[in-house]
Amino acid sequence: MAEQNLKTLLTLKNLNIWYATERGESKAVNGLDLEILRGEIFGLAGESGCGKSTLITGVMRLTKLPAHVQSGEAIFHASRENGQEQVVDLLKLDPGAMRPYRWRNISYIPQSAMNVLNPVLKVEDQIADVIRAHSSMSKKEAQARIGDCLEMVGLSKKVALMYAHELSGGMKQRVTIAAAIVLKPDLLIADEPTTALDVNVQRVILQELTDIRERLGLTILYVTHDMAVHAQLSDRVGIMYAGGIMEVGKTSDVLSEPLHPYSQALVEAIPDIGGERRRIEGLPGAVPSPLNWPPGCAFHPRCKRMLPICQEKRPDLRELKPGRLVACHLYQ
C-alpha cells in the first residue's frame, strides 16, 4: 500500500459517549480523537472495558439508551456514485438520514456471528435485502454478487440457500464478512470478529480479510484486544485506554518502539499469535471505573513513570513526529 498522500476517510473529534446509570454518567468514550485514512487497515487496540465497542456503536449510530452520544463530531468522507466525495458529520444526522450511509458506506462485521443471522430467513435473503435497500441492482445481479462474495470468503455458493442453524460458527462469521463487502463500502468496521473462532480458522479469516482489502480497496477499522492480530493485519494502530486514544502510529513503529507507558505494557504482553492472552504484567491496580476516571491522565494511578502534572492535566494527543501521535506528558 502506498503510504503517502492517503486521504482522510473518518475523523472523530472530542467524542464523548456516556451511559446514564443510577450512580451518574459513565463516560465509556471520553473525549476521543481519531483519524482513519482511506485504504488503510486501522487497528484499534485496548483491554476489555476501554470503550472500543461503545465507540463502534457510536460511529455506526447504533447507540442505544442508556448510552448516548454526549458530544463530538464524526466527519465522514462518503463516496457517492458520481465519484464525488460528500463530507458529512455522522453524529448530526437524523436517524432516518443516517440510513443511506449504512452498509453502502459503512458496513460492519459483528463480534459474534452466532446470533446475528435471522433464524427464519435464508442467507441469501439476508444479504439480498441490504442490496435491495441500497442499490438498484437487479435480482439476478444481486444473486451473482452474493455468490461472488461468498466465494471470496472461502464459502461455497450453495451457502446462499442455507439457514443460519445449518452453518458452523466459522461459516456464520464468513457469511457476515461476505455480507459486509457486498456493497463495497468505504469503511468496514470489524469488531473482534475472530475472537469466538479457533486459531486456525482465525488465521485463515485474517488472511482472507487482507486479500479482500487488496482486491476491493476497502478501508477497515479492525478492533481487537489482541496485539498479535494487529501485528499481522493492521497498517496503523491506535491504543485505547479509559475511553481515549493514548497513542497512534504505524503498527511496526508502535510495536517496536512503544512510547506511551501503557502501550509499552501492552506490547510486552504480546503472546505468540493465537496463544493465550497473558495478563498485562507490571501494571499495578485495576482498570479504573468509567463512572469516575482519575483526574488528569486517566492512566496515572497505574503508571510507572508518572510526573506530578499527570494528576492534574489531561495530556493532549500530539503529533510527536510525522504519523506518530501520543497523549503523554513525558513527551510534551
Binding site: 446514564a20 442505544k64 439508551l65 442508556p66
Partner: protein, 288 residues
Amino acid sequence: MRFLLSCWRTNSKFRVGIIILAVLIFIALIGPIIYTPLLKGNSPARPGSFARWMPPSLEHPMGTEGLGRDLLADYLAGLGTSLTIGFISGALATFLGITVGFFTGYKGGWVDAILTAIANMWMVIPAYPVLVALAMVMPTINIYTMSIVLALFSWPYSARTIHAQIVGMKQLSYVEMAKVSGQGDMAIIFTEIFPNLIPYLFMGFAFSTVGAMVSEVGLEAIGLGPANIVTLGLMINYANQWTAYSRGLYHLLLIPVGLLVLIFMSITLINRGMEEHVNPRLQTKTEK
C-alpha cells in the same frame, strides 16, 4: 419473602396490586364487625330476614333486595367468601401442581411420561361443563368442597410451569455440581432448586387463584353454587333474578362485578409485577 420484598421495592405494578388487594382483604376481614349488627342475628343468605326492597337507611345502609336480604351485609360477606374460595383453591392447586411438577420434572423417565400424559388428558377436557354438572349433583356443597373441586381442574397448569422450570434448572451447572458432589435428591431439591422456583410458585398461586374465582363466579352467576353461602357470584345471580338490567337496578350488578374486577385486577397486577421482576424484558418501561 425476600423475593416479595424486592418486588415491592422495584415494581410499581406489584405495589398497586398489593395495595388494592390488601384493602379488599381488610374490608373482608372487618366485614363481620359491620354486618353482624345489621343482620340482627340472621345469616346473610337467609331470605325474608327483613322487609323487601327497602331503600337505604341507617339500619340498612344499602337497602334490601326482593327477598328481604340486607345488601351491604351480603356484599361484605360475599367478598369474604369469594376471596376465601379463591385462596384455598389456589393454594391447593399450587400444592398439587408443585408436587406433581417437581416429581416429574426432577425424576424424568417413565413416571414423568405417564404423569405428564395424564395431566395433558386432564387439560383438554373442558372444565367448566364438568364443574357445572358437579355443582348440580352435589347439593351439600360448601366453600371447602367447592374449593377442592375447583382446584382439581387447575392443578395441571401449575404442574406444567413447575415441570418446565425444573427441567431447565436440572441442566444448570450448579445443580450438576451438587449431583456430582454426591448430594441426595431431597437435599438438591431443597437447597439448590427450590429457592429459585419461589417466584414461579407465587405466580402459579396467583394464576390458580384467579382461575378458581373465575370458575366460581361463573357457576354462581348461573345459580349453580350453594344457595346458602353468599359469594360475589351469587350476588350477580341475584341481580339476574331481579332482572336488574331492564329494571334499572344497576347497583345490584355493578357492585359485585366491580368488586370482582378489582380482585382480578389486583391479583393480575401482582402477578405481572412478579413476572417483570424475574424477567425485566417484559417491563413496560425498559428504557429511560
